[in-house]
């Protein structure tokens, strides 16, 4: 089991399942889990789920109803624009990607038959044959080129324009083969193509409201900010989903979401608060699914302006953050202590040898004194917009007060937070969604000219290493470089990443087949086509 005991992963579940098959008693198993630091409540729930999974074979039929947590009139079925989990779930049910990531984070083929390259710069993608869109049209290389090229057009408003920009050449070799040329070699292309924004739409589509894709469900109804209903696609190339129909909407209020699940109105309530886990303890008929996929909320100190331009201030803040307490009190154990760099333990390239800075108020005080800021009020911007940021701010504030450091925590509206405060305020909180590769994380967040360089970190050496690792097809070498880069970010940048936050979805026990995925909760948002409803 991993050294971070609270990180209950699917492999742990698998181990439990094996033990059950091997005849371990419930008591022994509970003990095993408790030794590993799991709260009693969570332990018995997880156990419930594992013993169910043993005797499971998919069943066809049923109307699946699930609730996410955010939805508005800006809901969209345009994969390029997708911004909320709600959009991701819908896009996953109506469209497909060329590749997708399995539980272990390894890219597997979806619409692509194969993706190959000899130099990591020119890639040949062969498409599966016999795939059709909901309107009956065959999937061809033109659809793929159209779908990928859209991201380069500023008018599309793509969320991944910064990543897509490296694709410079597109060529339809034949009806089922596409050749993509990159600006510079990038061995990660198959993983990049598994991102939700790179879903394949039909050539020439400009109105996305009908959700015409190749996916498991056909869109029957879509009302932005209200709900979507999809019905089984009988021609689905993977052989059709288990359920007959799939309804998805958002219940923003967390209590209301859980209550809807408990009362039987829905089958899945996404992203529940760790404090609500207790509600499911001793209640039969429900299970929890936990994913730690690399989502994190970070405290950013801009190093290009006061007080962050003083290195001692940044050092002091790093010692001041009580990571253990944040995981324990703010996240209630549903997170893993972080070490100030963005590559999470769920990632293949995570540097497990890199230990987080220990909490040390005395050292913090020493650095603050040296920086000459002790006793001066320092403003820290926080907002509900970033998951748990207010709780984290309050925890840091309370520790700071004990050493005579005054932090003025300022809560600002989540409305417009990303455009007004994030990246702008001298000290502020940010929130970063899971991204599949270290290359994407570093390019977007830490490269000297990165668009979201939260702490304004600049290092020529870092930029060079990034390019070097990207071009290499040698996995061992990449690992070595990425390990080194994680240490650099952890020690040199001004971003404090106290924890990787787990996502917990609650489901009725009738819902089977739900598994964690490195791309996020709800099976990387793609659960609808895999799960089934037991009768």
């Amino acid at each position: 089991m991993s050294d971070t005991t609270t990180n209950w992963s699917r492999s742990d579940d698998a181990m439990i399942e094996r033990s059950i098959r091997g005849g371990a008693s419930r008591r022994e198993l509970l003990k095993l889990m408790l030794v590993n630091g799991m709260a009693m409540a969570a332990a018995s729930t997880v156990l419930g789920r594992a013993s169910q999974a043993v005797a499971a074979t998919p069943v066809k039929g049923g109307a699946l109803k699930a609730a996410g947590w955010s939805s508005s009139t800006a809901d969209t079925l345009d994969p390029a624009k997708a911004s909320l989990s709600t959009d991701y779930v819908r896009c996953c049910s109506f469209y497909n990607r060329l590749t997708f990531l399995d539980q272990a984070g390894v890219p597997q083929m979806e619409l692509a038959e194969s993706i190959e390259s000899s130099d990591a710069q020119t890639w040949t993608i062969k498409l599966k044959k016999g795939v059709t869109f909901h309107n009956g049209k065959d999937l061809t290389s033109d659809d793929v080129i159209y779908s990928l090229k859209r991201h380069l057009d500023k008018a599309t408003g793509s969320k991944v324009a910064a990543i897509a920009v490296q694709m410079t050449g597109f060529k339809a070799v034949d009806k089922n083969t596409v050749e993509i040329t990159l600006a510079s070699p990038n061995a990660d292309l198959p993983t990049i193509l598994s991102m939700h924004h790179f879903m394949i739409v039909a050539d020439g589509t400009t109105d996305f409201s009908s959700g015409n894709g190749t996916g498991a469900f056909k869109c029957k109804q879509f009302e932005p900010g209200v709900r979507s209903i999809g019905v089984r696609n009988p021609n689905y190339f993977k052989g059709g989903p288990n359920v007959d129909s799939f309804e998805f909407f958002a219940i923003q209020d967390e209590n209301a979401r859980i209550n809807a699940l408990l009362s039987g109105d829905i089958h899945l309530a996404a992203a529940i608060n760790p404090r609500s886990v207790r509600l499911f303890d001793g209640v039969n008929g429900f299970a929890l699914s936990k994913t730690t996929s690399g989502n994190y909320t970070d405290l950013n100190i801009r190093m290009d302006m006061a007080p962050g331009n003083n290195r001692d201030f940044v050092e002091g803040m790093k010692y001041l953050v009580n990571r253990e307490q944040i995981v324990k009190s703010a996240l209630r154990g549903f997170g893993v202590v972080g070490n100030d760099q963005p590559v999470s333990p769920a990632n293949f390239y995570h540097n497990a040898a890199l230990k987080p800075k220990a909490f040390d108020p005395e050292k913090a005080k020493f650095h603050f004194q040296k920086a000459g800021v002790l006793g001066q009020p320092i403003e820290v911007i926080t907002s509900d917009a970033a998951n748990s940021a207010i709780d984290m701010a309050v925890i840091v504030q309370a520790t700071a007060a004990q050493i005579g450091m005054k932090l003025d925590v300022k809560r600002v509206p989540s409305d417009g937070y990303w455009s007004n405060y994030w990246l702008k305020a001298p000290i502020h909180f940010g929130n970063v969604n899971p991204r599949p590769t270290p290359d994407i994380l570093f390019s977007l967040l830490y490269k000297s000219d990165a668009p979201w360089n939260e702490s304004r970190y600049t290092s020529e050496k870092f930029d060079k290493m990034l390019a070097e690792a990207r071009a290499s097809l040698d996995q061992a070498k990449r690992r070595e470089i990425y390990n080194e880069m994680q240490i650099m970010v952890s020690e040199e940048a001004g971003t404090i990443i106290p924890a990787y936050i787990s996502n917990v979805d609650a489901v009725t026990e009738k819902l089977k087949g739900l598994e964690p995925n490195p791309l996020g909760g709800m099976m990387g948002y793609a659960f609808a086509e895999y799960v089934w409803l037991a009768t």
């Binding site: 609500s276 207790r278 009190s329 207010i390 309050v394 925890i395 309370a398 509206p413 989540s414």
Partner: protein
């Protein structure tokens, strides 16, 4: 009706007749005022400090009212919250009712274009959603307690105005008003001496109710980012941030609710049981 002007009859207190309910309501309010004034010296734990490793903890010897969702002491947080809930709500409701009632009576007595202009302007003001209003204030002047008080006052003035005006319009048609006008009395005299005493009862009742609304909206605006900043929180915000404890009947959500109820019910009972001499003055 003639009011008893001489003291010395049934149940005298400061020259006013008062009853038990009114006095106990006043007692509760005064208690909270004392708490608000001396809270920093009374709290057993710092409001931001995490003192319990558990969350939504039960009532215990150390944590008198249990712990909140982060494990902070709820008792201390309620005591400090009294300052915000009491101070901000009283300030906001006083400003809103004073301006609303004064404008309402003026409009009713003056009539004509002034009445029309005022009424339409305040109707328009009332039509702007409070969330939009709150966000605009944060964007324009930033977040501060005075900004919060001003926002709450502006939101609740039109309602106070409309109700006071409706009452005053009725009084304005009475014979004694006609007589006073013929006497050549000026507007301020008419408002203060003839109208106000006749609408005071309902106006005070309206004030009591508006106080409840302000106490509740206060936390909503704080969550928008306007006003009370962490680690401090007003009572409404305490209820809101601990609402996850409701299914467990956590003290962290029950006690702040009780605090709100004790204050708002007392304010309204006090108004209902004010000595008749204050409440029901009628023209001599």
């Amino acid at each position: 009706m003639t009011t008893s002007t001489s003291s010395g009859r049934r149940g005298i207190r400061l020259g006013y007749r008062a009853n038990l309910v009114g006095i106990s309501a006043l007692g509760v309010i005064l208690l909270w005022v004392v708490v608000a004034l001396f809270a920093p010296h009374m709290i057993p734990h710092s409001v931001g400090e995490i003192v319990d490793t558990d969350y939504f903890g039960p009532v215990s010897r150390d944590l008198w009212l249990g712990s909140d969702y982060l494990g902070r002491d709820i008792f201390s947080r309620i005591l400090m919250g009294a300052r915000y809930t009491l101070g901000i709500s009283l300030a906001a409701v006083s400003i809103a009712c004073f301006s609303g009632v004064a404008l309402g009576m003026t409009a009713a007595v003056a009539g004509g274009w002034l009445d029309t202009m005022l009424s339409r302007f305040l109707d328009a003001l009332n039509s702007i959603p409070s969330k939009l209003f709150g966000l605009v204030v944060v964007a324009a002047v930033g977040s501060s307690i005075p900004a919060l008080i001003a926002t709450l006052s502006v939101i609740y003035t039109p309602g106070a105005y409309r109700f006071a005006r409706a009452l005053a319009v009725n009084v304005n048609t009475m014979d004694f008003m006609v007589v006073a006008r013929i006497r050549g009395e000026k507007l301020p005299y008419l408002i203060a001496s003839e109208i106000l005493p006749n609408i005071l009862g309902p106006v005070l009742a309206d004030l009591g109710l508006r106080f409840v609304f302000v106490v509740l909206l206060l936390s909503g605006l704080s969550f928008l980012g306007l006003g009370v900043q962490p680690p401090y929180a007003d009572w409404g915000a305490l209820v809101r941030e601990n609402i996850g404890g409701l299914p467990f009947a956590a003290p962290a959500v029950l006690f702040p609710s009780l605090a709100i109820a004790s204050l708002t019910i007392s304010v309204n009972l006090l108004i209902d049981n004010l000595p008749r001499r204050i409440r029901d003055r009628s023209p001599e």
